[in-house]
């Protein structure tokens, strides 16, 4: 996974000034956030289901070795082939080997974050195999050669005009004057285009929302049905999944499905949930001849051994992105990783190492909304704090920020100095804001005051008031 997370501050500044992006982020709040609120209100059992979902994920991660071996055994018994891959390079090589053995020229893909993580498309292209994303959003960003900006709505940062431009540019051989102003027209064109790819593909690659240990089954959830055409029509189906995707049983999957779509898109359930077990069987009328599952580590066993192992419970619904004030202000690309938002700010440093990603755990106000809406109750603020501690220990952030914290710590350990410093600062600020009780600017804090006024303090410290007997 290539990483531009080190540019986070500059990216975030650019995103705040991007009016088109800001409009797109506004739509996200109206769509997913309001949708979730409505379906949750219709399900009194929602919180009990989240408790159970959290228990399922905790139990599975605590028994991960057992469930993965069980999954492998059942999937193999059903005729599937399971490949364990240590890192992205191994996974790419394995996928290429399967594609080449099948003489593949064209590969269709269902949406997969693991596919993004291991950058499989570039690799296949470099080996003369054409990969085609079939989720509409993924297809659009593939044409534009962009990273997804959201884990479940990859093209959410784009306007319909930008999509139309991309279609004009890439769908050659069509009338350039054709009307593409409306989303319906864009959708119809993509449908026609991708239908041909579905029918011609040699190999279909999908991700997995879950792997089910008791039956050796992989599960995908889509609204478009693209994942199903991807995995049903070609001769070979490859599932790419990271280790933590496993769950014990079909009933456990049902529980997780009850919280997944509600948390993600605000639907009661997605249009298509598909359970696949092995390749086509003798009398079946269709389906792939071969079924492969890539089990990818790529840092997961390190995470399992670390302080933030709980992040492995994440089911990638995107609720923490949708409800995060920071994500809502800057969108996904600013994070410089395929996993943005709160879950991404925990996962990216865990997968890629903290150096280079040390800005990400700082990109949170720790307001706690992510934990409030998480369907598996991940303690995201706690994990972000863990990473901040680690970053401080390893020297990041550096320079000025460290100096300020050191100064503050020096004073905080000397109450007389702290009170003295607080006293003069307050007196000065209160004098500045005497006119109407608000500060229009504070030297050194222009980044804050350029967009908002700061309420001026009343002039005396809490300690001073306490001593003078004002206690209410």
């Amino acid at each position: 996974m290539s990483l531009a997370a080190k540019n986070f501050p500059a990216n975030a500044r650019a995103a705040l000034g991007d009016t088109q992006l800001q409009e797109a982020l506004e739509r996200l709040r109206g769509g997913f956030v309001e949708g979730r609120r409505q379906v949750v209100a219709k399900l009194p059992e929602f919180d009990a289901l989240r408790d159970r979902a959290a228990e399922i994920r905790r139990h599975t991660i605590a028994h991960l070795d057992q469930y993965l071996v069980q999954f492998e055994e059942r999937a193999t018994a059903a005729g599937g082939i399971v490949h364990w891959c240590r890192d992205a390079a191994e996974a790419r090589a394995q996928i290429l080997e399967i594609c080449q053995a099948a003489d593949a020229r064209l590969v269709t893909k269902g949406k997969s974050m693991i596919g993004e993580e291991i950058e499989i498309n570039d690799y296949l292209e470099a080996h003369n195999i054409e990969p085609v994303e079939t989720d509409l959003g993924e297809y659009i960003i593939q044409l534009r050669r962009e990273l997804p900006s959201h884990i479940i709505a990859p093209a959410t940062h784009l306007s319909k005009e930008q999509v139309a431009e991309s279609f004009q540019e890439h769908h050659t051989g069509l009338d350039a004057a054709r009307p593409l102003a409306e989303p319906e027209a864009l959708l119809a064109e993509a449908r026609t285009r991708l239908r041909q790819k579905f029918l011609a593909a040699d190999v279909g690659i999908t991700g997995a929302n879950f792997l089910i240990a008791e039956t050796g089954t992989s599960v995908i959830v889509t609204n478009e049905g693209n994942g199903d055409l991807t995995q049903t029509l070609p001769r070979v189906h490859i599932v790419i999944a990271s280790l933590e995707k496993v769950v014990p049983s079909l009933d456990d999957a049902a529980t997780l499905l009850r919280v997944l779509a509600r948390s993600a898109t605000g639907q009661e359930i997605s249009a298509y949930t598909t359970f696949s077990t092995g390749p086509k069987r003798g009398p079946d009328l269709d389906g792939p001849d071969a079924y492969h599952v890539i089990l990818l580590d790529n840092g997961r066993t390190d995470i399992l051994a670390g302080d933030n192992a709980e992040i492995l419970g994440c089911i990638r619904c995107g609720a923490c992105l949708n409800h995060c004030p920071v994500y809502g202000a800057i969108g996904g690309h600013a994070y410089g990783s395929v996993y943005p938002g709160p879950m991404g700010s925990v996962l990216t440093p865990a997968l890629n190492g903290l150096p280079g990603a040390h800005h990400l755990p700082q990109a949170s106000s720790l307001c706690g909304r992510c934990e409030e809406v998480c369907p598996v109750r991940l303690p995201l603020p706690k994990m972000l704090r863990n990473l901040r501690f680690q970053a401080a220990e390893t020297g990041a952030p550096g320079g000025f920020a460290r100096l300020l914290v050191k100064l503050w710590a020096f004073a905080a350990r000397r109450p007389w100095l702290y009170r003295f410093g607080a006293g003069i600062s307050l007196a000065w600020l209160s004098a500045r804001g005497r006119k109407d009780g608000y500060l229009r600017s504070i030297p050194g804090l222009r980044a804050w005051t350029s967009r908002r006024d700061f309420p001026a303090p009343e002039g005396r410290t809490f300690m001073h008031q306490w001593k003078s007997g004002r206690r209410s």
């Binding site: 797109a24 739509r27 109206g30 009990a48 289901l49 159970r52 139990h59 605590a62 057992q66 364990w84 240590r86 989720d135 509409l136 990859p154 093209a155 784009l158 306007s159 319909k160 999509v163 989303p183 319906e184 864009l186 959708l187 449908r191 239908r195 029918l199 008791e214 609204n223 478009e224 049905g225 199903d228 055409l229 049903t232 280790l243 079909l250 009933d251 049902a254 529980t255 009850r258 009661e268 359930i269 997605s270 249009a271 949930t273 598909t274 359970f275 696949s276 077990t277 390749p279 069987r281 009398p283 079946d284 009328l285 269709d286 389906g287 580590d297 066993t301 390190d302 399992l304 051994a305």
Partner: protein
């Protein structure tokens, strides 16, 4: 070998949390022997017709349309009426099963077998359903090509009421008890409404890759 390498790292990480392999094996066996009772939303009424009404209401919210008939003999007429109402003409491609092949379809044009790209209208029999979200369950098999659920622009699904459960767990039980097919089949499709996408400006549009229209016909008598 990568498998052993990854498993060894996993075992080491889990051992470091204070659990042993033996304890983890016991933990898995214990949960399998006595799985937690599922938390099932209290939703659909228990009686057959109340449950069917609930199913239709939820399916309607997913933009599916529904109809109810008394028995399989009424199916060709109900389908002709549906296609006429929305002016959806053309031939039907149906699953090659006796429940369909035994019926008299004239004047409708119908063929039986796997799907191809030219099929405009698909006809399938649901193996189970869950009223809680208006969801159909379809197993793949010798009489049920999976692609038929996805390629046609209009999909008509027939659901015998005896196969309608209140919830997902109940629907799994119906599939397990269906006999004939090994469970789970290569593919089990849960279908809740037509194909949709909101990837362009969060506007929900139907029929992006799969069916644009999903019509579900509930059959009162079992008859299958």
């Amino acid at each position: 070998m990568s498998r052993d390498h990854i498993l060894a790292r996993m075992v080491a990480a889990l051992d470091a949390t204070g659990s042993s392999i033996a304890e983890r094996q016991a933990g898995v066996a214990k949960r399998r022997g006595a799985p937690p009772t599922p938390i099932i939303p209290v939703r659909a009424p228990a009686d057959k017709h109340g449950r069917a009404d609930y199913f239709c209401a939820r399916a309607g919210e997913t933009s599916a349309t529904t109809d109810r008939i008394a028995g399989f003999a009424d199916l060709p007429g109900a389908i002709a009426a549906y296609l006429g109402k929305y002016d959806r003409g053309g031939a039907i491609k149906a699953q090659p099963r006796a429940a369909f092949t035994d019926l008299d379809w004239a004047p409708l044009r119908i063929a039986f077998g796997p799907a191809d790209d030219t099929d405009g209208i698909g006809l399938v029999l649901a193996d189970g359903a869950a009223a809680e979200t208006g969801t159909l369950l379809m197993m793949s098999g010798a009489e049920a090509p999976t692609a038929l659920n996805f390629l046609p622009e209009t999909l008509i699904a027939v659901l015998p009421l005896a196969r309608l459960a209140g919830d997902y767990e109940g629907a799994w039980s119906i599939l397990r008890g269906a006999g004939g097919n090994e469970f789970p089949s290569r593919t089990v499709n849960w279908i809740s409404g037509p194909s949709r996408s909101a990837d362009i400006e969060q506007r929900v549009l139907m029929g992006v890759h799969g069916p644009r229209n999903l019509h579900i016909i509930l059959v009162d008598g079992d008859g299958v």
